[in-house]
Every structure is written in structure tokens, then in C-alpha cells.
Amino acid sequence: MTDLLTLAATTASGLSLGITEGGSWLLRNAWLIPALPALSFLGILFFGKRMPRGGSELGIALVGIAFVLSLLTAAAWIDHRDNFEGEEVHRTVAAAEEHADEGHADEGHAAGHPSLAVHNTVTWFELNDVTFTAGTLVDGPAVMMLVVVTLVSLLVHVYSTEYVAGDRRYTHFFAFLSLFTASMLLLVVSENTLQLLVSWELVGVCSFVLIGHWWEEKPNSDAALKAFLTNRVGDMGLIVGVTILFFTVGSALPGQFGSFSIAETNALAGAGRLSHTALLVASCCLMAAVMSKSGQFLLHTWLPDAMAGPTPVSALIHAATMVVAGVFMIARMYGVFFEGFSIGGSSINLMALIGGLTTLVGACLAFVQRDIKKVLAYSTISQLGYMVMALGVGAWTAALFHLFTHAFFKACLFLGAGSAAHAVHSFDMKSDMGGLRKHMPHTYRTFVIGSIALAGLPPLAGFWSKDEILVGTGGWGLFGGTGGNGAYTFMLVMGVTTAALTAAYMTRCIYLTFFGEFRGHGTPHESGPRIVVPLWILAGLAIVAGLLNLPKGFPLVPGSLQERFGHFVEPVAAYFPSISHGTPSWSLAIASTLVVLSGIAVAGWYYFVKVEAASKAAGESLTELPDGLTSRYPLAKMGHTFLVQKYYLDHLYTDIIAGGTKGPVAAAAYKVDQDVIDGVVNAAGENAVRAGNLVYHRFDQLVVDGIVNSSGRASSGAGGELRKIQTGKVQDYAAILFAAATVLAGILIVIV
């Protein structure tokens, strides 16, 4: 059967898409999962206020059902992945020169059966000969995201019932939490880019609404606006990119001018049927969307500000799910990006570079924050950079795996930070926290577990996914090279540096929050069970999630338990490019662990030894050494200021780019006008006058001066007359407009 399928795929009759219309009922009806939270949104919106618990029970119930459905779907997918032998869908493509060799050769994939994605659509509308569909494309990454989103959303729903209890817009909050969940689930099962775009905008709107949940305070509504507007910049890229792809794909399909279908786009791109230039331009446009949505360097500035929203929102939207939409979009359109950026076999590309820069930039900024949520926000940016970098170097599975583990430990950290802040009523680590270890043991333990997972110490989740990304760069040549898609050594260096920085800033964060003496007011106490239980669930997942994808050849476990995540999540179908996988090496794993330990050691020595001793000496709980590096060395001080000012990017955007047209640029233009242009004119005039004076003194006096003076008088007079036209009355302007347009039309008629 498999042989028959591959045979059919290589003949000229049609291009195999790697999708099927068959499959189990659960996989074909995945639309139910986003539909449930959408139902919950409507229910809460209309009946929430009348419910005994303000609608939160409806949200929890329906999201809970969605979670169970997701788990069942995942089970169905696991069965489908290895045992499905159904019909594959083929697509007739326009005759073109054969690219039989560079097609989707399946040698790179060890699995026997192609893991056909389950495709189910309904016609949305038809326009001439193009059918616009809406539907679901269920495959490994989609199923994985369904489980992650519903799980984190469910826990956040439960957590929120305590966190925002008594809020005046309690019902409203849950309604939008549900709407967000629905939009995000719709995004991950999207079958075409149009649907992807719609849900992409929907999650953006929910993010806007939830960041601005407490909009009465100006900074919150400002932050919401900033997030929304920054995302608009990237969304423009998404719209342009999707449009380019639509027409590019249309050129390869007979009798059709375009197609939004993701499977078709990827399969055609993978088969080399699409123009490389178009793919490159489209990839760059889509990359802009990723940069804004996933907080990549240059457009990341909204994400830290978005922490103005309630903490559960930060955990759900700005750590675990929405911000990874960009990463997921790359993973979804990987055929396009893989061809567009020539990921296989090169050593640098835009995506890897942006991702690598973002990891470093975010990690550096996390050092100087006072606000615990901002530390985590910059950490999120840094980790998203990891994922984008991994995709950029071709380590697709590693990126998705990191997305998976990151969702758990980062949500755990955010909810832990929220729990601490809930107790002390502030997010400021330096002035209002410290010593919480004794008061909040559960929060403390889960936070430490999350931090270790984030820093990447074995055997916690972060270690496995981070190590896989480092392996995927293919840049490690020592003791059994890794051999990925290319030699991205530069990315490896950035990744390892960030690993050290991550370990160090999380150590600082833990010290400032949980050690020393309490610096705030009152006595903090541990949060209730509705906060602590989700924390422990997430912490547990942060410990074990990494074991899902033990590297191949890991000697301590049987082969059937190795690379389970990669096996079930990574598609091996025609719509997915054939990527090569790096070979994990012990040397790299040990080296990266040592780097992490050294990061912890340096920061730990500074805080737990030096600052602790200084605190004892000073008799109060300090947060930094009174005579630290920054006060002793001007260069260090400058670096610190540079970081505190967030690389001056916000100044760049608001003052220079936005204010530029009215302010400095205008002044510069005026100066150029005065000094250069006027200077030239004056000099020319003076010289001419001097020459004239020498020869025609009298003529000059009478004629030239006369002309000059009268022209000046004339322009002044004309200005005075023209001023009268500026009556400020709309009808006078309209009269001029109509008359001028008519006269011009008349001239046009006469001439043509």
C-alpha cells in the first residue's frame, strides 16, 4: 500500500499532498474543540452575570471538556500515526519541468507509513473558480498544541477564580479568556492561511482586551494599545505574505488563480514548483508577523509592557500560547520557509539570525528588571528566540518540543510570580519581596522547579528541549559531530551563551524574591488551593515533560521510549520538507550543563555569598552590593543604563521614528535650507551683484534692484491676496475643488 502511494506521488498525474480525508471521527471533527470555548464565550457573555459564580464555572466546564477531547484526539492521533493506511489526496498541478529528484524524498524519515494529516473542510464561499474553505488540518503539531492550549487554559481558568476574585469585571474577564482559548484553538487547527489570519487577528484582539483589563489606569491602557499597534505592524506582513503565497500557488495550479490551502502551499513549495524569489519575499513578510506576535528582536518591545495585564493572562497569553503563535505559524508553513530561506545546507539566514539575537537580547535585559513579571517577560522573549532560532537552523522538532516544555515551566513561573505578587500586592522584587521562602513554601518550591527547568539542568524539561536545539544547530564538531541541516556554529555560540545568562538571571530572581528578609509591608501568606494546585500540576509537568523526547540512542531507556515526541509530532508527509536530524552527543550535553552550572555559580556567589554577607553587615536586606561593579566601573555603569533603557528601542520608536518628522528632521531640513540652499543662492546672488556693480553700476541700481524689489513686493502682495482664499470655510474649499476638477476635466476632454 505504501509503495503504491509513493508510486502515485512520483508520477506526473498529480502531486501528493500528504493529507487524507479519512481517519477516526475525533480527528475529522477537531472543530469541536475550538467550538466549545466559543460556546462558553457566548454563554458567559449573555448569561454569565446571572450565574452563581459569575460565569467562571461555565468556562471551566467547557474548557475542561475541550481538554478531555484534546486528550482523546491525541490518543486517536497516536493510533493514526502508525496504523492508518488510507487514501492520500492528490492535486493536479500545472505542467512544469519535472523536479523529480528534489521532491519530497522520504529517506530522511525512518517511519514506515506516511503520517497523513487529517483534512476536513467545508466550503465557505466560492468566487468564480476559486473555492474558499474553512476547516481543520489535524496532524502532530496541531494535536500537540491542542493539548497544550486546553491544559494551560484550564489551569489558568481555575487559578483565575481565586486571582481575580471580587474583580468588578469578573464575568467579562472569563468571557474573554474563553474567547481567547477558542481563537487560539482555531488557529492551531487552521487548514488554510485565510483562516489562520482571521484567528491570528482574533487572538490579537483578545490580547488587547485582556492586557487592558484594568484600563482605568493609564499605563495599562497604554500597554494594551502598544501591544495592539506593534502587532499591526507585523500583521501587515502577514497579510502581504499570505497574499503573495495565494497568487504564487495559483500560478502552479491549472484553472485557478490562487489557493490558501496550507497543505497545497507547502507541498508545492517542497516539490520545487514555486518560484524561489516569491517564496523568499513571502517568508520575509511572514517573518515580520512572527517578529511582532512572538516578540522577536526589534518588535519585542510590546511584550514586557503587556505584563500590565492580570497575571493569569500573562501566563496564558504572553507566555504559553499566543506568543508562540508565530513559532507555530513558521512550523505550519515550514515548507515555505524551508525553501524560501534555504534552511538546509547553509550557515546563516534571517530567521536563525533574528532568533539568535533575540535570545541574547532578551536574556541580557532580564538581568536589570525590578519587576518579577518583567524578568519572566524578557525570559519569554529569550526562549521564543530559541524556538525561532531552532526553526531557522532546521531543528523543527526541537523547536516544537521546546515550545511544548516552555509552555509548562513558563506558565508555572508566571503563575508562581502571580501567587507571590498576590500575597504582597506588588510586583517589585527589590522593594516589596524577599524572604518569601518561609511564608509561601509551595510557591517557592514550584518556582524553583520552574526556574531549574528553564535554566536547563537535567533531568528537568528545559534541559532536553534546549539540548536538542543546540544539537540541531549542527555546529558542534567535538567527539562525534552532530550533523544537522547546515553548520550554524554562530547560532550554537549564541544559544550556549544564553543558557549561561538564563541560569544567572533566574538565580538572581529567586534570590530577590524568596531569600533575604521580607522588605514589603504586612505578613504575606500562602495562596489558596485554587492557586497552589495548578502550580503543582505545572511544576510536575515541568519535571517530566522532557522525558517525552529522550534522544535517540540514549542508553538508559529502551528504544521504544526514545524520541516519542518527535515520532508523533513531526510530520513525514508530502506537505512537510525533508529535514535532517542532528545526532545528539554526550559531549555537548555535558558542556551545556557545565555552562548552566557556571551561570548559576557566578550569580549564586554574588547573591547568596556576597550580598548575603553585606546584608548581615548592614543589618538590613539588601538587593545588591553597595559598591558593586556598576558603581566602581563607569563602563559597567553605562552598560547597565543601556540595558535599563531597553537598548533605547522605545526611544527609537517613539522619539526618533514617530517624532522625527515633526521634530529633529524638520529642524535639520530647516538648517539645510537656511545654511546650504540659501547659502548657495546668496553666494551666487552676491557674486552676480558684485560683478554687476563693477560693470553696470547704474543699470544694476535701476533694473536689477527694481526687479528684485518688485518681485518681493509681488510675492508679498500675492500672499496677501491668496491668504483670503484660506477662509477656513469648507464650502469655499469645495468650490475651488469642484471648479479646478471641472476645468481639468474640460482640458482633458479637449486634448484627448
Binding site: D732, F738, A739, V743, A745, G746
Partner: protein
Amino acid sequence: MTVLAALQGFDSLMSGDTVVAQNIAFGILALVMIVAALRMVTTSNVVHAALYLVIVLAGVSGIFILLGAEFVGVTQVLVYIGAIVVLFLFGIMLTRGALGEDEEADTEKRRMAVLVGVLVLVVTGGAVLDSFGDAAVNRAAPSLTAEIGDTIFSQYIVPFEAVSVLLLAALIGAIVVARKD
């Protein structure tokens, strides 16, 4: 000269080839519309102006029916006379710029407006006469409403959706602009 030649083309209106009754109907409609339109823009009473507008709109609807566009003609009556004029009357009532007399425009402004209006008329009229000589409207049967519906929902579906979004935006915009806060 072309203008004169074109004017001579109107001779065929009175010949036996064309249906005289249609032309008579057109003449009456056109006369009533132009007079009503002129009264509308010159009357000093705002409510009267709205009523003159009704006459012009009804005339336009008649012209549509004369041209065989029955659906558009009926829509014209429904939307314009049924809804938009009522909206105008509400607007007049709410602004209460005196239900009676409206202050007259100053003569200078009116002179300018006449000038521009005549200029527009001359240029567009001249262009029309110059371009369309004696093209005749000889539609055999009125257009079918079913055909309009089919065309809107196939060929013009995207503009149709765009207009629906525009209406929604206008609705929201009008509420935002006019609400008291």
C-alpha cells in the same frame, strides 16, 4: 459643431421609430425633477427642501423604471424615500435650525456657487454630447431581479461583503460620533 450635430440627433425622438410615449414620460419626469431640484436648493424652508428632495428622488425612481431597472427603482423608493428622507427629517427636527426660515446665503457666495455649477454643467454636458452622439437605449425587456441577485452573489460577492462591513462601520461610527458623553 458637434454639439449642434448632437442636438439634431434629438429629432429622432419625435419620429415614428421610437416610442413617443416613453419620451413624453421622460420629458415630464425630467421637467418635474429639475424644477424640484432647483426649488430644493433655493427654498429657505428646510422642511420644504426635504419634501422637494422627495419629489426628485421619486422622479429618479421613475427614470429607473423607464430604463427597465425595476429592482433599482423599487430599492430607490424603499431606501431613499423610506429611510434616508426620514433620517433627514429627524436631523432637521433634532437640530431645530428653526423649522421655518433658513438664513439666506450671502450674494457673493451664491454667485460663486452659480459660477461653479454652470461650469460643471457646461463641461459635463459638453462631454456627454461630444461622446455619446446618438446611442439609443433600446432595451427589449426590463432586467430581471433574479439576474441581479445571481450576479451580486457570484461576481460581486466581495464588494457586497465590503459594503456590509462599511454599513456596520458607519453604524458604529454614527453612534460613536453622536452619542452624549
